[in-house]
């Protein structure tokens, strides 16, 4: 009796799902797995970016003469679920490769799965360094500038000031810990005399901002390095602003300038913070960056987030790789991704490094200012990751032997 019902249900499920696979095979399908509900604020702009790229690609005739199609699936932010969906996308839905994920741990699970089963996975948004370094594998490529790169850019700026005593505050999980370690290592290398007088580790999305601000204030740092984001950042900025924590101190904020996090702060955006972000509002007319922003606003009616850009570049990268490969089998696609160069993207030439499968997408760094009651990044520059990466020898040493 136990097994009767379960098998019946399974059989019923099989019947309802079977027609999906039987659909026409005349598109090239990409399996996209993300946390559309659990991280809706980040996943939605990302998905719209992909859709914009798809419209452009398919209006221009698709790839290899066929339309390009993404199958979007929700994994609930659960790595095990993501692996199951990946299996289905590849074996039943006819996807030629996998992409997606914002959370690093889901990205790492998909990466390991791709290597074991011989699939290709393009990690678009996850930031963990280990994805291409200590846990890297030949089947995984990564688009976005990693934690290490962005932290190194902030550390370079921090080293220019005469601040000696630093306090750090970062969410208490792998990303936060990596971001603090990367900042420390880079800053110590550039300026050995700095010391870290306080390290605060609030629980992710559960910060006790008042207490954290008091604890940082107590250590009397010259400068502060912030890794919190989202609601944690909002609470930290509010409590810190009220209690005068940021007065007379330079603050370096990882990702704090990204529209996802900056916009909700409204007129309380912390002026003077040096941050990484995405200043879509101040691109010059006639640049490819500006053209992307205009297209995106025209297509969606919304202003772009950093996720929009990453989603768009994901679509563009995959289309270019398939064109270059001239085929859709995994081996050809992997070969095409290695050293892939795309010349006219919104960030200029996009390239995937052969040595570690990391793209050369960089980051925008600048200072937060208030304009018309909104936080914006001013005096910003776009920095490519060259010069912030560890040396090729170090990278090769970190990657497991291939």
């Amino acid at each position: 009796m136990t097994f009767t019902r379960r098998t019946l249900l399974a059989a019923a499920a099989a019947l309802t799902m079977a027609p999906v696979a039987a659909l026409a095979q005349d598109t090239i399908k990409i399996g996209e797995i993300n946390h559309y509900k659990r991280m809706a604020a980040f996943a939605e702009p990302y998905k719209k970016g992909i859709e914009l790229a798809l419209t452009e690609i398919n209006d221009a005739g698709g790839v290899l003469g066929k339309p390009l199609e993404f199958i979007f699936r929700d994994d609930q932010g659960d790595p095990a679920e993501a692996v199951k969906i990946a299996e289905e996308l590849m074996t039943r839905d006819g996807a030629v490769m996998l992409t997606g994920s914002i959370l690093s741990h889901v990205g790492l699970a998909l990466s390991s799965f791709a290597a074991e089963k011989g699939y290709l996975y393009l990690a678009s948004e996850p930031l963990a360094d280990s994805l291409v370094w200590s846990s890297g594998n030949p089947n995984t490529f990564r688009l976005r500038a990693s934690t290490w790169i962005q932290a190194a850019m902030l550390a370079e700026e921090a080293a220019k000031t005469d601040a000696i005593k630093y306090a750090t505050i970062a969410p208490n999980y792998a990303y936060g810990q990596d971001a603090v370690a990367a900042f420390k290592e880079n800053l110590k290398r550039l300026k050995p005399e700095v010391e870290f007088v306080a390290e605060q580790w609030p629980a992710l999305f559960n910060i006790d901002a008042g207490a954290e601000v008091q604890a940082i204030e107590r250590s009397k740092p010259d400068a502060i390095y912030n890794v919190t984001f989202g609601t944690d950042l909002a609470k930290l900025v509010r409590e810190g602003g009220d209690r005068g924590l940021f007065e007379g101190r330079s603050v370096y904020g990882l990702l704090s300038g990204e529209p996802e996090y900056l916009e909700p702060l409204g007129d309380e955006a912390p002026e003077g913070w040096f941050v990484t972000g995405y200043p879509w509002y101040s691109f010059d007319e006639g640049t490819p960056e500006k053209a992307f922003v205009d297209d995106y606003i025209a297509a969606t009616g919304e202003t772009p987030k950093i996720g929009s850009l990453v989603g768009y570049l994901t679509g563009v990268s995959i289309a270019a790789a398939i064109e270059k490969a001239g085929a859709t089998d995994t081996a050809s696609l992997i070969a095409a991704f290695e050293g892939l160069e795309i010349s006219d993207t919104p960030i200029g030439t996009l390239m995937y490094r052969k040595i570690d499968n990391q793209s050369n997408m960089g980051a925008y760094v600048g200072t937060i200012a208030l304009e018309d009651g909104k936080g914006v990044m001013v005096d910003w520059t776009y920095k490519s990751p060259d010069g912030y990466m560890p040396s090729d020898e170090e990278v090769s040493a970190m990657r497991p032997a291939e």
């Binding site: 019902r5 309802t16 604020a41 799965f113 963990a128 846990s135 609601t231 409204g266």
Partner: protein, 619 residues
């Protein structure tokens, strides 16, 4: 000294909102005995409704008026939920209602996303209360002091309501003995609705009051629910002063923890809860639960019997069908079945301890994830062959369960459940924070099976052998003398003791056995997915198992297995749709209302009724 005082004030300010939400939960539990997981959702609704109202109503009056109205609005929503979802199922087995509240969480999450959108909202500032006052030279935000000042009034108002009014007399009477209150002619239904509405309103006020210190976002329901349960349990379920003391205790300890042990933020409150429960098993001001006091409601249970010949034949045929399946279906179907068998074994192990043992564990994922981690750690650090690592999983999980069980088994009911939750959080935080060993939430990856098992079909048979083997062993034990002793201890501990059964020892062994089987499921799991992350140890993972056991039917043999199969298939199907959480929530609520004895239990009683009817006709 000034710094200490300022820290203390920060703690008090944090306690204010926490106390409001916790007091609502405590009231609801005290009267209705519902463990309301959806309480965090009412807190989240309070925040969103509050922001919306504050944007409409201007000025100081508007701000405070908005907060007041928010509570009323959320209270009304609470009353609606109680009447539609909970009222039909009060006579279901104890704790069954928590499944319905889980459905409510999912529905509210998607509705909030539809109405307010995905972006986080900053809360509006309280007019005239921006900035700080200096106390002994330390800056203290003005709004903090207002919140500190408000809380005693709320505590006093609640205390007055409960101790000095007729409503309060009824509430207290219902907390002590709700059947008697009903027998004395009080309309229980409205009393329950009223208390649920009041509790929800308190959560809504908590959400609205914290706005100037934070904001509204779609994750805040889950983010607060952990601390709220901790506060209610430390204070003693159903005790308002207890909730207040616990809220202050937790908040103040948290503030000092942040300063002197910054890494402790994840576990501090669970450690406090575990310590309090070990010393005072019913919380600080809680009352001992007299066994049988809230007893089994509904019809008495018919004793479980092994299947007859027909049942056994059917099971045998189905096993054969499962064995023959790889000949006809595609690879993904097998993957889905592997997932299903793993989850079914996990659920069956919880069902064993919950249904047969009568011990509700909120932390069973500690053993599933613990087993998965045990195997993965061996492979990752020592390159242990897969076969040995796999066998280590149930062994390690069983040991872990014996260890945790030693502390928990002396408690009973909800307190037992909460102590298991606390321990599972400790295990989770170890996996999360001890990066040198576990790599934190980067997880342990590349844990793949040996080459003879790396194809899907061999692994499918491997899963069948161990997964279904485990389920059959558990069922066998239920019908063995050990199982009878366990059931005797559940139904009637005193008689069982009198017959010479050492109830606690039996329960402890059963707890270890359930852990072992969960660990076995974890072992299969880690090699089927190739990686393990702290998500497998989260509260959510424990609740998934809990929900399928209740959905399937606690008082049946096949409940866990059927529930697991049902939920896996439904989820796999629904997550393809955009608003799958809304739909899944509605499906869960519908099942709960249609089948209050669980799927198997309700089918069985329908069947029995039908057959009884036929027999009468024949006569």
């Amino acid at each position: 000294m000034a710094f200490f005082f300022a820290q203390f004030l920060t703690g008090l300010a944090n306690a204010s909102s926490l106390f409001l939400v916790a007091s609502g939960l405590s009231l609801i539990f005290g009267v209705t005995r519902i463990v309301n997981f959806a309480h965090g959702s009412f807190y989240m609704l309070g925040a969103f409704v509050g922001i919306t109202l504050m944007n409409v109503l201007p000025g100081t009056v508007g701000f405070w008026g908005a907060i007041l109205l928010t509570g009323l609005a959320v209270g009304a929503i609470g009353a609606f939920v109680e009447m539609v979802v909970l009222r039909p199922i009060y006579r279901a087995p104890e704790l069954f209602q928590l499944v319905a509240t889980f459905g409510v969480i999912l529905v509210i999450q998607d509705l909030a996303l539809m109405i307010w959108g995905a972006q986080d909202r900053m809360g509006p500032r309280a007019p005239g209360l921006r900035g700080v006052w200096r106390i002994f030279g330390e800056p203290v935000p003005k709004y903090d002091l207002v919140m500190i000042a408000i809380t005693p009034f709320i505590l006093f108002a609640l205390w007055y309501l409960i101790t000095k009014t007729r409503v309060g007399v009824l509430v207290r009477a219902a907390t002590q003995d709700r059947e008697m209150v009903g027998a004395l002619g009080v309309n229980q239904a409205w009393l329950f609705t009223g208390v649920f509405a009041l509790g929800s309103a308190l959560a809504g006020w908590g959400g609205a009051l914290q706005l100037p210190k934070g904001g509204a976002d779609l994750l805040m329901d889950f983010n607060i629910i952990g601390s709220v349960f901790v506060v209610v349990v430390i204070g003693g379920m159903g005790s308002l002063p207890g909730a207040f003391i616990a809220a202050v205790l937790i908040s103040v300890l948290n503030v000092f923890g942040v300063t002197y042990l910054p890494q402790s933020t994840l576990v501090l409150m669970f450690v406090v809860m575990a310590v309090v429960l070990i010393i005072r098993p019913y919380g600080l001001l809680g009352r001992e639960e007299v066994a049988g006091e809230h007893g089994q409601v509904g019809a008495p249970e018919t004793p479980i019997r092994p299947y007859g010949r027909l049942g056994q034949t059917l099971v045998g045929v189905l096993l054969l069908a499962l064995v023959a399946l790889p000949l006809v279906v595609d690879q993904f179907m097998l993957i889905l079945l592997i997932d299903m068998v793993v989850f079914a074994l996990f659920a069956a192990s919880l069902h064993f301890i919950l249904g047969t043992g009568g011990l509700v564990s909120f932390g069973h994922a500690a053993f599933f994830g613990g087993g998965a981690y045990a195997a993965a750690l061996l492979v990752y650090h020592l390159n242990t062959p897969m076969e040995i690592a796999f066998l280590f999983a149930p062994f390690a999980a069983g040991l872990l369960a014996l260890g945790i069980g030693w502390f928990c088994i002396r408690l009973s009911g909800v307190y037992f459940a909460m102590l298991t939750l606390a321990f599972s959080q400790l295990v989770w935080s170890m996996a999360y924070q001890w990066r040198g060993l576990t790599r934190g939430d980067d997880g342990l990856v590349n844990i793949w099976p040996s080459s003879w098992l790396s194809d899907t079909i061999p692994f499918y048979y491997f899963t069948l052998a161990f997964g279904i083997g485990g389920i059959l062993v558990l069922r066998h034990i239920i019908h063995a003398p050990f199982g009878y002793a366990l059931r005797a201890g559940r139904d009637s501990p005193r008689q069982a003791e009198a017959m010479g059964i050492h109830v606690k020892r039996i329960q402890h062994t059963a707890f270890g056995l359930a852990g072992l089987m969960a660990g076995l499921a974890g072992g299969i799991f880690v090699f089927s997915k190739g990686s393990v992350f702290p998500t497998e140890l989260e509260i959510g993972a424990s609740f998934d198992a809990l929900i399928v056991v209740f959905l399937g039917g606690v008082k049946t043999l096949a409940g866990g297995v059927v529930g697991a199969g049902f939920l896996t298939v439904i989820e796999d199907w629904l997550t393809r749709l955009e608003y799958w959480r809304l739909l899944l929530g509605l499906v869960i609520i519908a099942v709960v209302i249609i089948a209050p004895e669980g799927i198997v239990g309700t089918l069985r009683s329908r069947w029995a009724k039908l057959r009884g009817h036929n027999e009468e006709v024949v006569k």
